[in-house]
Amino acid sequence: MVKVGVVAVQGDFLEHIQALRELSGVEPVVVKSARDLSDVDALVIPGGESTTIGSLMRVKGLDAAIVDLAERGIPIMGTCAGAIILAKRVVDRVVGETGQFLLSLMDIAVVRNAFGRQRESFTTDVYVDGVGKVRAIFIRAPAIVEAWGEARILAYVDHYSSGKVGAVAIERNLLTTTFHPELSGDLKIYEYLLSMAKR
């Protein structure tokens, strides 16, 4: 059994848990505090509000425990809000500097609400290097605008107002998607995460 933790302080963690349940040999684990992380083989930081998740992570020491997990090489996937929290540099398209709490683990720069507001949320097909074509649901989504060091962009989305921007990035054991694999019923991204766990 591969134990995959899902950070469950706010957001659509239940959808991630339900998607993980569809994969054989996977046991999803609800993670609310540092002690829930003791024996996970991989971790998912879900979608939600990144400001809320970031601040609630610190209540029970999850922040330090996740940094420790990342340093031990455990695969961590952040989707949407999760991608923001993993990034080193974050600005909002309208507000600019957000001053929010970040784990600052990945060498990527992210723009929050990059495509606009909820009205502009969209669905499209995205081609992910090493994964293939996936149905991608972008909700008030961020965009990965820069990757440096060991970070690499694996997928782009070509958007009518924001241009061509990063949608998936990887850096060693860290994976981010700015869309929501948990909403599309497409499990390819999870399989990719699990293959990272087996490596």
Binding site: D12, L14, K32, G48, E49, T52, Q118, L183
Partner: protein, 340 residues
């Protein structure tokens, strides 16, 4: 004498009518098309994208605010969204008069100040207020009983909007009627602006009780029970069946109406809410910053008594809004009976 040929003429007209209806349907489809204007591969405003957005709010707190200062306090406290009003529900209640949607400039200011989703209320049945809110880019529209309804029979047809809607409900049939009209999210009505959570508890329990009943019918194979329930309660049959299968409200269901303390929020979460709206409870208290933060904590960690205690100690009961006992309100002063 009626000739068979007359009937042929009639049937031909009937055929034309059917074709006209089909054309009208196609026109409606292209009018509400979800393809982005200059990039057909990108689909915006679909039902999935609306419901998906609401999924992201789960486990969070949406706070009523009347200006960008309050919105900043809400964001800093960890709210997942704000609801912009002209007056807080308590003030709507005490000031009387007609309550309408908030000023568009006020909403715009809030949108330019914070990064979290911004919601606003429109009057029940007021399609044009909703259109204005969609046009300026509000993320979620609350067709709310807190404002003065303009139509006491029909709600807005929410399917024609690209922006998701939330509606209040006192019971499961009311919730299912709103979903049938296109609501992407439900909240209890409670009794807004009272600082008294009793009505929200009553409404959430009514929903939970009906779901248990429907689940029972479904599992025991008594499907006729679902049919009778739908008929007797004026609830859409398809959604009754869906509710029975899922064993929950088929969309995200928040608590609202009278939540004033961290313990109130924890109670509503324990009753099965997916999250919490706080109206007057925060900015009608004497300690809004601490209270906002404490309610966020109690909502996330509602099943961990230690943290709820910690949250409850962050606020002072002396600072809570005084509130109104619902039993002292006259029937015409109740907001929950608007738009059922």
């Amino acid at each position: 004498m009626f000739k068979l040929v007359d009937s042929y003429v009639y049937i031909e007209k009937l055929r034309d009518l059917i074709y006209q209806l089909l054309e009208a349907r196609d026109r409606a489809r292209s009018e509400y098309s979800t393809a982005a204007p200059n990039n057909p591969a990108i689909e915006v405003g679909s039902t999935l994208v609306k419901l998906g957005f609401i999924s992201m709010l789960k486990g969070g707190v949406i706070m009523d605010v009347t200006n960008e200062k309050q919105a900043e306090i809400a964001e800093d406290a960890g709210a997942v969204g704000v609801m912009v009003l002209d007056k807080l529900p308590y003030d709507v209640r005490t000031s009387g008069g007609v309550a309408r949607t908030a000023g568009l400039d006020v909403i715009k200011n809030v949108m330019e100040t914070i990064t979290i989703p911004v919601s606003a209320k429109c009057r029940i049945g007021h399609r044009e207020e909703a259109r204005l809110l969609e046009e300026i880019g509000v993320d979620l529209i609350d067709e709310s009983e807190v404002l003065t309804p303009v139509d006491d029979k029909v709600h807005i047809n929410k399917w024609e909007f690209k922006t998701p809607f939330v509606n209040g409900a006192r019971s499961l049939p009311e919730a299912l009627r709103r979903i049938y009209e296109g609501a992407s999210m439900i909240r209890t009505k409670g009794e807004p602006g009272t600082g008294n959570v009793a009505e929200a508890v009553k409404h959430m329990k009514a929903v939970v009780r009906d779901i248990a009943t429907l689940r029972g019918y479904y599992e025991s194979g008594y499907l006729e029970g679902l049919w009778i329930y739908a008929k007797e309660n004026n609830a859409p049959y398809e959604l009754v069946v869906l509710t029975a299968k899922l064993s929950r409200v088929p969309v995200v269901n928040f608590a609202a109406g009278g939540i004033a303390t961290p313990a109130d929020a924890a109670l509503m979460m324990w009753l099965g809410s997916d999250g919490v709206f706080v109206g007057s409870g925060i900015f009608k208290s004497a300690d809004p910053e601490a209270r906002a933060r404490a309610i966020v904590l109690a909502t996330t960690f509602y099943d961990d008594p230690e943290t709820v205690v910690e949250a409850q100690r962050m606020v002072s009961e002396r600072a809570s809004m005084l509130g109104i006992d619902v039993k002292t309100l006259k029937p015409e002063e109740l907001m929950q009976t608007r738009g059922v």
